[in-house]
């Protein structure tokens, strides 16, 4: 079977298009590249949607945690504490079994036990909590002078938030937020190892890499392929975020614009 044929059969295997059966023996390099790449669709899906949706909740959580009202502050603090203080792996398991038991009481929860929704919700809440903490830190380090200047110009309430607080917060948080985005994409590899079943063997990149490593008993081929894909993805994220950084800092003189370094820090 030629490589072009393999790509045609398996490039969209992870979302159920193409050949139904996975290769069982005589694995070629082409098959491994194609299927692991196919799995990346899920990693990008989980990461991109969780990040986009998590952003909104993260801003809300940060504002809540910085709020003077106890009713807003306490819940935000708790969400951030619970999701940052426990392992994502355990969160996945807990959520899966929670959805499983809810499924018993109502049909509404049927899709929640599938990875595409259930795991997405966990990732969404998790990244919202981590980003929320980052934004909260940024919020607290906005120079007092900026806020006073805004007030002197007569900006209050929503317009002050929209024009001053929010952009400044984002600008300060951006490097750490880039990190969080990279980390989130890496965390998506946990999904299919944590209770959520891979329906009809439609899994993510690590699922297929693990499949090949198990079958060939040779970890030295599939895992480096996976690593290569992820390094590419990481570079892509860093590239996109540095575009964002340039936009956020476009009013600053050139020397003050910190160039986003191409060396992501990996600690959350």
């Amino acid at each position: 079977m030629s490589c072009a044929q393999t790509i045609q059969d398996y490039a969209l295997r992870s979302i159920g298009i193409g050949e139904r059966l996975l290769p069982r023996s005589d694995f070629t390099l082409c098959q491994q590249f194609t299927l692991i790449g196919s799995g990346m669709i899920w990693n990008v899906y989980f990461g991109a949607i969780a990040l986009a949706a998590g952003f909104a909740l993260a801003v809300a959580l940060a504002m809540g945690k910085a709020s003077r009202r106890v009713m807003l502050r306490k819940p935000s603090e708790w969400v951030i504490f619970v999701f940052r203080g426990s392992p994502l792996f355990i969160q996945f398991f807990f959520a899966y079994f929670l959805f499983l038991s809810l499924k018993g009481s109502s049909d509404f929860f049927n899709p929640f036990t599938a990875a595409w929704l259930g795991a997405l919700i966990v990732l969404f809440l998790n990244t919202a909590a981590y980003s929320g903490e980052i934004f909260y830190g940024a919020l607290r380090s906005i120079p007092q002078g900026d806020m006073e200047a805004a007030e002197a110009y007569g900006l209050t309430g929503w317009s002050k938030f929209r024009r001053i607080t929010f952009p400044t917060m984002l600008r300060l948080a951006w490097p750490a937020y880039t990190n969080e985005a990279i980390f989130l994409f890496h965390a998506t590899t946990l999904v299919y190892f944590s209770g959520f079943p891979a329906w009809q063997q439609r899994g993510d990149a690590l699922y297929y890499a693990n499949y090949f490593a198990d079958r060939t008993f040779n970890p030295f081929v599939p895992y480096p392929i996976l690593a290569g894909y992820f390094i590419l993805l990481t570079l892509l994220i860093v590239g996109l975020f540095s575009l964002g950084s340039r936009r956020l800092n476009r009013h600053l003189p050139g020397a003050m614009q910190q160039r986003l370094r191409l060396r992501p820090n990996f600690l959350r």
Binding site: F94, F193, A213, T216, F217, P219, P264
Partner: protein
């Protein structure tokens, strides 16, 4: 209280007996497994990290390259991929080495299609070994894997901390005629810790939150037991039949980890206060 006939018990007595079955005791012991992993891995990873950071600063180009590669390798790739990779890779690497030493006149290739074939006496642990040896071996592989991955993280932190020590300190030492080794030992290392502690604290938190991945490495850890014990139990297999309780077991694990991170946070905060006491950093400056 007697637990001989659980069918006659109810309420708290039943729960008390249920929570003290042999399997539950293994479950509680596995919390010890996790803490033991932390206790062994943290210093080992720090050691690996120290070596990595030193290598990355070495004057010899190949050593420096090696150190920097080690630091860079965990960047950009999910750590769980490393976990899955190293456990097999280390096992095969060790068996391969033993195979060459112990069976020098073996003429077949080690990799035959989808099989990894070494001679019988090179197997690790030996096929005839008792169960506990297999468990210890699996656990040791897991520890080494954790140490390698987190060592690279630590190397990055320590490398940064070594770079953060003010140049003037090192230049002064040079002016006093100290050798490179002396400067490293007496000036650089004592001063770098204060810069390293925030990064290492963060790393500790990441390490704590990575411990449930032991489950993926095939160790019977708390995740394993929570799944085992929580699953539905039929009266025909157990004296304590119950429905699907996995959600409660994982809730317990969640609480355990929240407590663990909370306590760590408080302790690390105190450590940082002590280290920065009287130092001219933002943490130590009078506030």
């Amino acid at each position: 209280m007697t637990c001989t006939d659980p069918a006659t018990l109810d309420g708290l007595a039943w729960l008390g007996c249920y929570l003290t079955t042999g399997k539950h005791l293994s479950f509680y012991a596995s919390f010890g497994t996790v803490l033991l992993l932390l206790a062994i891995t943290a210093p080992t990873a720090l050691l690996f990290g120290f070596g990595g950071a030193m290598a990355a600063r070495a004057r010899l180009a190949p050593v420096r390259f090696l150190g920097k590669t080690y630091i860079a390798i965990v960047r950009g790739v999910p750590d769980i991929a490393f976990f899955l990779f190293f456990v097999i890779a280390l096992d095969q690497g060790l068996e391969y080495l033993r195979h060459h030493v112990l069976c020098p006149d073996w003429d077949q290739p080690v990799r035959q299609g989808s099989d990894f074939v070494v001679c019988d006496i090179a197997k690790l642990p030996l096929g005839s070994a008792p169960q506990w040896q297999h468990e210890i071996y699996g656990y040791s592989l897991a520890i080494v894997t954790f140490a390698i991955v987190f060592g690279a993280f630590a190397a990055n932190v320590l490398y940064g901390a070594m770079m953060a020590v003010p140049r003037a300190q090192l230049e002064t030492a040079e002016a006093y005629g100290l050798t490179r080794a002396q400067i490293f030992r007496r000036i650089l290392v004592p001063q770098m810790w204060v810069y390293a502690v925030p990064g290492l604290s963060n790393l500790w938190m990441v390490l704590v939150k990575a411990t449930p991945l032991l489950f993926l490495l095939g160790v019977e850890d708390i995740v394993y037991w929570a799944r085992e014990l929580g699953g539905t139990k039929n009266p025909s297999f157990t004296d304590y039949p119950h429905g699907d309780w996995r959600i409660w077991y994982f809730l317990a694990l969640l609480v355990f980890y929240l407590l663990l991170t909370r306590v760590s946070e408080a302790l690390l905060e105190r450590l940082m206060k002590r280290l920065t006491f009287g130092q001219a950093t933002t943490g130590g400056a009078a506030r």
